[in-house]
């Protein structure tokens, strides 16, 4: 008799626990796991205009990995990541430190105006920049007319990635600045007082106190930026209307997945691109996090 009670006791809490977990588990399964499972499922099939749906195994993955267009897109986002992200994070850090230094006049105004672009929807911002980039009717033309220069529109194939980088930087400097600034506000002022007593200069305070204190925020911002770079879509997709030859249908992996899916009706290939990019992003983000955290523990 005692043994049955014991079993019931051991079993009952387990069921109750599942009940508490259920609201989260169900939502998690529906909105996180199910789409991934569905993408995996799609990636194993090919839907043909003639012949319909066929199981093709890992064929879609092999074809994507063997396609120069995929690697061209990956190359673009990696280049974007290596150039744009450091510039953007450096600028964000600079502004955050400047505001935090307390020596800036009108700090609240600067903070708001740097952050404001983030509040503009990406689509609107890109349309606006697209117009400014125009060398026939846009700002570039006005600029050329006033100064007598002959600057070409940055929407040419060689410069379009930089033009997009400029838009993204403009949009996200404020966002990252806020992350850094919030982290800087949590540094106890006693540390600064101690540094002052020790005779440390402003630069020394930054390198010895502020930067180490916000390392976590730097890692987070970097990871967000890596993910953002790999998912580059809005800006090039909108600018394609203005520069259809500079921005190809495989300019970034996301654009290519979109084109494969909605112009080519090749959902299987599109799903394979999405999964491959998801894995690549996760691996790189994980490596960055690993490195960031290891230093923090030291």
């Amino acid at each position: 008799m005692t043994s049955t009670t014991r079993i019931r006791r051991a079993g009952a809490p387990r069921v109750a626990g599942l009940g508490f977990l259920a609201p989260f588990a169900i939502v998690f399964a529906l909105v996180f796991l199910a789409p991934i499972a569905y993408a995996l499922f799609l990636s194993l099939f090919a839907d043909r205009l003639v012949g319909g749906v066929q199981f093709v195994g890992l064929d879609n993955f092999a074809r994507i990995l063997g396609d120069a267009r995929f690697w061209s897109g990956v190359g673009n986002v990696v280049l974007f990541l290596l150039v744009q992200v450091p510039i953007m994070l450096f600028l964000s850090l600079l502004v955050a430190l400047a505001i935090d230094s307390g020596r800036l006049h009108g700090a609240a105004f600067v903070r708001l105006s740097v952050f404001l672009p983030y509040a503009v929807p990406a689509v609107v911002a890109t349309l606006m920049w697209g117009f400014m980039y125009g060398d026939r009717f846009g700002l570039v033309r006005s600029f050329n007319e006033i100064l007598g220069t002959s600057i070409a529109s940055p929407l040419a194939p060689d410069t379009v990635l930089a033009a997009i980088g400029n838009i993204v930087t403009w949009q996200f400097v404020g966002y990252n600045m806020l992350i850094f600034f919030a982290a800087l506000r949590t540094v106890p002022t006693s540390l600064y007082e101690a540094a002052e007593i020790d005779g440390a200069g402003e630069l020394r305070v930054i390198t010895a106190i502020k930067l180490p204190a916000i390392r976590g925020a730097l890692v987070i911002a970097t990871i967000f930026s890596i993910i953002g770079s790999f998912q580059l879509f809005n800006e090039p997709s909108i600018l394609r209307n203005l520069a259809p030859n500079a921005i190809t249908s495989y300019f970034t992996p996301n654009i290519w997945a979109y084109e494969l899916s909605f112009s080519g009706q090749q959902q299987g290939l599109a799903a394979a691109v999405a999964i491959l990019m998801g894995i690549l992003t996760a691996v790189i983000a994980y490596l960055v996090q690993l490195r960031g955290m290891r230093k923090e523990q030291r």
Partner: protein, 433 residues
């Protein structure tokens, strides 16, 4: 105009009958007139500006019907959105504007409803043969021709006159005129182009080339022979920077036509309404001439664009949708659209004296329909589009478009285009010849 009467008579007869029928069935009716009587809400995706007046008039006549006219983008943008909605299985409009070149791709994927049973089967002969064959897919009729796009050259006569350049009659003249215009005023380009698959295929069509041949699921593709002829004019235009590097339908495009820096466009006869709304300041300056020719004294023409209105397979109100379609494409809606500058696909209108005599205020009183009607009669026979033209067009700029940014030539670009649409066709299960 005869069919208007018969439609009205039949509508009256069926409306009477439907009063009896209504007792038995409410939703899901198969009778368009009864459906209009019963009312409902329709969503229409179209970018054609003249449809607004049609929707208003239809709603006024059918009080129970509420039509939401949505501009979901022009051309490919809308097709992408539409395919997106069809894939997702929600948000699909009841009616969509689909250009003739894109009809086969939607039809082959069973995305469009067969409307022959709803009354379209009786309409043979109502429409010009080109548009009608474009919406007839085998035994099914998957759309109603809304307009047609026999091509013409729209040009800003004031600019040509001011710069002392004659209006070109052949493509060779056209190239020379492009040079002369630019020499006379460096800010002026004879036209814009950033690589437009629709224009390129229409130029091939006019030149007599047949790059795409379709026989069931067997597709022939040849972009390296006759089809490349347009490059004889287009390549020097590119080499000498004579195009305005502005994409059609962009704000810059309308601005350029408005201020005279884009001096002409060669496009379909549906253009006037767009010029009126997009380049209002240039009213009175523009005129219409026949498309430049490949042979001296020739009269060859091609179609460019032109759209059908199709009922989607996902629509739950096919009968009501068809009633609106009938009104817009064969009923009173046609005249409303013609008044607003659209170009008809209905034979009765194409041949009517009233239509031919219309004086376009925007074109300084020119009877432009005569140019268009002649173009319509001279469209070269034998052209067909790929059954996956939407996809092919979506990669046109990846290949041929690269010639516009200096990396390759149009001829090489065409070869690359052919290679990619060959590969896609095979992947999709077509037999490529």
């Amino acid at each position: 105009m005869k069919h208007h009467h018969s439609t009205a008579l039949r509508a009256g007869a069926i409306a009477g009958a439907s009063l009896i029928a209504l007792a038995g069935c409410s939703a899901g009716t198969q009778d368009p007139d009864a459906a209009a009587e019963a009312g409902g809400t329709l969503t229409v995706w179209a970018w054609e500006p003249t449809l607004e007046a049609v929707v208003e008039a239809y709603e006024a006549e059918n009080e129970g019907v509420d039509i939401e006219l949505v501009n979901a983008g022009t051309g490919n943008d809308q097709y992408t959105a539409l395919q997106n909605a069809i894939q997702a299985g929600s948000g699909v409009p009841d009616i969509a504007q689909i250009e003739y070149f894109a009809v086969p791709q939607f039809a082959i994927a069973d995305s469009l409803a067969d409307i022959s049973e709803l009354g379209a089967a009786d309409l043979d002969g109502t429409f010009a043969p080109g548009p009608w064959s474009a919406v007839s897919q085998g035994d099914a009729i998957v759309g109603m021709p809304m307009d047609s796009g026999p091509m013409a050259m729209f040009y800003n006569a004031e600019v040509f006159e001011r710069l002392g350049v004659a209006v070109p009659e052949t493509w060779e003249d056209y190239l020379q005129a492009a040079r002369d215009l630019r020499a006379a005023d460096p800010s002026v380009s004879i036209t814009n182009d950033t690589g437009d698959a629709g224009l390129a295929t229409s130029l091939m069509w006019q030149s007599g080339a047949e790059p795409f041949t379709v026989d069931g699921t067997t597709v022939g593709i040849d972009l390296e022979g006759d089809a490349a002829r347009y490059a004889e004019i287009w390549q020097p235009m590119l080499d000498e920077d004579l195009f305005a590097p502005v994409s059609s339908w962009s704000d810059e495009w309308f601005a350029g036509m408005n201020d005279g820096t884009i001096a002409s466009i060669t496009t379909g006869a549906w253009m006037p309404a767009n010029l009126e709304s997009g380049a209002p300041d240039a009213a009175g300056d523009w005129r219409v001439a026949p498309m430049p020719q490949w042979e001296d004294g020739g009269a060859a023409s091609a179609e460019n664009g032109g759209s059908s209105l199709a009922v989607t397979a996902a629509s739950e109100q096919a009968a009501l949708a068809y009633d609106f379609l009938e009104y817009a494409t064969t009923g009173d809606g046609v005249q409303l659209r013609l008044d607003a500058g659209a170009f008809p696909a209905t034979t009765a209108d194409l041949e009517s004296q009233e239509f031919l005599d219309v004086e376009f205020e925007y074109f300084g009183g020119q009877q432009a329909n005569q140019v268009f009607a002649e173009s319509s009669a001279n469209v070269v026979d034998g052209w067909s589009y790929l059954p996956y033209q939407v996809y092919a067009n979506s990669i046109f700029n990846d290949t041929v478009g690269q010639a516009y940014v200096g990396d390759t030539t149009i001829v090489d670009g065409l070869a690359a285009w052919q290679e990619q649409i060959d590969a896609y066709g095979q992947e999709q299960g077509f037999t490529i010849e």
